[in-house]
């Protein structure tokens, strides 16, 4: 094996005082060799991104490297001055970030921004810069490179923008490429393309790639070597094959155990049960009014959609961003007014209900949102927010409080939680409180709108388990909206696949996954990362001393 391009030894990065731990990264050592993809895996707060920023010398001002060495092409870059380091960045080492939407300067064309790499590091003439840039755009498979060259970032999609960032990173053929969660913000199909691109790059360019991710499926898809981090420390590292299939550290095992399995844990037959929710021809059309030089037009965010939900059933609704699944939910709940169709709960139509009667109708159907930070009012105590619903529906406050205490226990939190404020809870805890809040009014149907998407895998797993448990215990029906096929597979009985505002496929989970009918579904399934990896059953692994 070739000499490593990057060799990090005993790196420690201090956190500002007053945090919950003294170091962001502690005693980290790792190596990246040419032509190798090293994945750093960990949950949020594990210090995995800090490592990449330290290497790029892009640490926020508040974080300081206190010890260790980062050898890059034989030089300790921690001893370099800012301008010397700037000469390396973009030239010898390059980086790709998580959030493509904001990674480009909105004021300049993307061509301009790619050319800036050449401008900063070479004295290449203008024409050559442009030619090289066009070539790069082709290499990252952008359609119509000359047009893209003159485009502004806001005119491109997220996936396209990420390719631009990749093009920038590749411009000068760096020997080290660092990618920090490069596909997390992207749709699964785009993710697959980008990951494929990484695999190619390793071969064509011979660069060493350090890829930071939280997703073991991504690791399985591309990694040569894996480094697992927890709370700033490396707990395990080794080849991908070793770590993925025979994890030794309990934490690694816990993480792998939490990876969704792409198949239902338990499937139930619900066909004979009564229908609790019937949606018929629900649609939402936005009218863009006529304005100067443009006629009025209509945009169908949701084409007429119909489905049924039976008692005790979990119906998964799967789709990428922009597929219309969120519009469907919001129109169904009358959070936005639908343009047509009916939504029957208990035989009463929500879609046509008067504002005044809407309140009582909604009692039967409650929702848990995606963002655990935005769905609780930061200025009200948990108790106050929990009793809101029952009190609005006429229950006495003390009665409601009693119920709140009960529900808090059911979602496995302590009663004191009721007197606290949302900022005093972690994301997973908040999501459980949101579930409790929804259950306070004893709904028949619970809608979970990407309810676990923002959570770390281990927390995600717990919340999913809690949801399933509650569903069974309370006889709830559930609508489970997600972009993640694996999660949908794990929890749903039936699944609906949406694309471009339309339901393209539906059926029992096993049928849709094993025998997809629609091209789009097939494409989605094919794009799922880590398909070559059979997640090991941790319980069968030999025990290790923690």
């Amino acid at each position: 094996m070739a000499a490593p391009i990057l060799s990090i030894t005993d790196l420690t990065v201090d956190l500002p005082r007053g945090g919950d731990r003294p170091h962001a990264v502690e005693g980290l050592s790792l190596e990246v060799a040419p032509g190798e993809i090293v994945c750093i895996v960990g949950e949020s707060g594990s210090g995995k991104s800090i490592t990449s920023f330290a290497t790029m010398s892009l640490l926020p001002r508040s974080l300081k490297v206190s010890s260790g060495r980062i050898l890059f092409e034989g030089r300790d870059i921690l001893t370099l001055s800012e301008s010397e380091h700037a000469k390396l960045r973009g030239h010898r080492m390059a980086m790709i970030f998580q959030e493509p939407m904001t990674a480009l300067n909105p004021c300049y064309t993307v061509g301009d921004q790619i050319e800036e790499v050449f401008l900063s590091h070479t004295d290449m003439p203008k024409a050559e810069r442009k030619a090289k840039t066009i070539a790069l755009l082709e290499e990252v498979r952008m359609p119509d490179p000359p047009r893209i060259h003159a485009s502004y970032p806001h005119q491109l999609s997220g996936g396209q923008r990420q390719r631009i960032v990749i093009a920038m990173a590749l411009a000068l053929n760096p020997s080290l490429l660092i990618a920090d969660e490069p596909t997390t913000a992207l749709d699964v199909t785009t993710q697959a393309q980008i990951l494929a691109m990484f695999r190619d790059l390793r071969k064509t360019r011979g660069a060493g790639i350090m890829l930071v991710t939280h997703d073991f499926d991504v690791v399985a898809e591309v990694a040569d070597k894996v480094v697992v981090m927890q709370k700033g420390r490396v707990v395990e590292q080794g080849t991908a094959e070793e770590v993925l299939n025979r994890p030794r550290h309990p934490y690694t095992r816990q993480l792998i155990d939490a990876v969704p399995r792409r198949q239902a844990e338990v499937t139930q037959d619900v066909s004979g049960r009564p229908v609790v929710l019937r949606v018929e021809g629900l649609e939402k059309i936005y009218r863009v009014p006529a304005s100067f030089g443009r006629a009025a037009r209509e945009v169908a965010a949701l084409k007429p959609a119909s489905f049924e939900l039976r008692e005790g059933e979990t119906l998964g609704i799967v789709g990428e961003s922009g597929s219309g699944k969120t519009t469907l939910v919001r129109a169904m709940l009358r959070l936005i007014d639908p343009s047509g169709g009916q939504v029957f709960v208990d035989g009463r139509d929500i879609a046509s209900a008067q504002r005044s009667s809407l309140r009582s109708l909604r009692r039967d159907i409650q929702i848990v949102f995606q963002d655990p930070y935005g769905s609780l009012n930061p200025r009200r105590t948990i108790g106050d927010q929990l009793v809101e619903g029952p009190v609005n529906f006429g229950m006495s406050r003390s009665e409601a409080m009693k119920r709140a205490r009960e529900l808090v226990r059911i979602v496995r939190l302590e009663e004191e939680a009721l007197s606290r404020y949302p900022n005093q809870f972690s994301g997973g805890q908040r999501q459980r409180l949101c579930i409790a809040r929804a259950l306070m009014v004893e709904p028949k149907i619970l809608v979970a709108d990407e309810a676990v998407s923002a959570l770390d895998v281990s927390v995600q797993k717990e919340v999913l388990r809690l949801l399933a448990e509650i569903r069974d215990r309370m006889g709830l029906s559930m609508l489970f909206i997600t972009h993640d096929l694996r999660v949908a597979a794990q929890v749903s009985d039936h699944v609906i696949v949406m694309s471009k505002g339309e339901i393209v496929e539906r059926g029992p989970i096993a049928q849709v996954f094993n025998d997809p009918q629609h091209a789009y579904t097939r494409q989605l399934l094919a794009a799922m990362p880590g398909q070559g990896w059979e997640v090991p059953d941790i319980s069968t692994l030999p025990p290790v001393s923690a």
Partner: protein, 292 residues
């Protein structure tokens, strides 16, 4: 899972803690408190009647310029005790600030929150109102209005109140729009809360910090504006001891008895400065993310 680790403090306690650590806030708060106390206790602490004239003891200098302790800050052109007028003036200036800013707050908040919450046509209409209001030159319109309607304390404060609501509306509109998109609003809606209840329990508390900050800014603005109107001779009417009017009265002798304008000027500066500092402090404390 249990909650054994140390918990973050509740928002209120966090704020209190940040407030206690914020030197500017504490300092300006202390000065403001002192001015408020002086205003409240004016009848007790003022050595003389602020309206009591004495034509034989006009223009006595303050102690440090050779005056006597009978009139520590000297007397004005009508022989009234400057210290007593300054003390009573605190009442008037604070009242001008509070009432004007209060009136604008009500107007601006109602408009801003309605625009931000309901959006659509309500929003377009409010934006139009804001634009109209901003297009009108404040001083000019205030002067014209006061000159046409006469210059009592009530009219001056009402005119300013009707003119200074724009910032409330602009900021609260933006803040409400942000809050409106939060999922806890949708959740409250789902849980059967009525719109007034959502506005009151979910929107208002979350835009409150903006509201308080703007309130302080506009108080300061109103006090300065009234001083400007008084300077042009169209502010509150004499013999009301407003600090702006005192500056205006003292300006005649600016070149000779400069303390006549310096003393109320410094007092006015201190008040406005403290209010602004206090507002900045509150912003830092309630929304630390807004600072950096």
């Amino acid at each position: 899972m249990t909650m054994t680790r140390t918990l973050p403090l509740s928002p209120r306690r966090q704020m209190a803690q940040r407030a206690l650590r914020h030197r500017g806030l504490i300092l300006s708060g202390a000065v403001l408190l002192a001015i408020v106390l002086i205003a409240i206790l004016a009848p007790v602490i003022a050595p003389h009647d602020p309206y009591r004239q004495s034509l034989v003891t006009r223009l006595r200098p303050p102690v440090w310029l050779g005056g006597t302790w009978q009139y520590p800050l000297g007397t004005d052109a009508l022989g009234r005790d400057m210290l007593s007028r300054l003390i009573y003036g605190a009442r008037v200036s604070l009242m001008i600030g509070l009432i004007s800013a209060g009136v604008s707050m009500v107007i601006g908040t109602v408009l801003g929150i309605s625009a931000g919450y309901f959006g659509g046509r309500v929003d377009s209409f409010v934006q139009y109102l804001i634009n109209v209001r901003l297009a009108m030159p404040v001083i000019l319109v205030a002067l014209a209005a006061v000159s046409l309607l006469g210059g009592s304390l009530l009219i001056v404060t009402m005119v300013m109140g009707l003119l200074l609501w724009d910032r409330f509306a602009v900021v609260l509109r933006a803040a409400t729009m942000q809050v409106r998109s939060m999922e806890y609003i949708a959740a409250a809606d789902m849980l059967g809360a009525t719109q007034p209840r959502i506005l009151w329990k979910d929107v208002l508390p979350n835009v409150m910090s903006h509201l308080i900050v703007i309130l302080t800014l506009e108080m300061a603005h109103a006090i300065i504006l009234e001083a400007g109107l008084s300077f042009l001779g169209l502010g509150v009417q004499p013999p009301t001891p407003s600090w702006g009017l005192m500056i205006s009265e003292g300006k005649e002798l600016l070149l000779f008895d400069s303390w006549l304008i310096m003393i109320p000027g410094v007092a006015l500066f201190l008040l406005v400065f403290s209010i602004n500092m206090f507002g900045d402090g509150i912003r830092d404390v309630t929304a630390p993310e807004g600072r950096n």
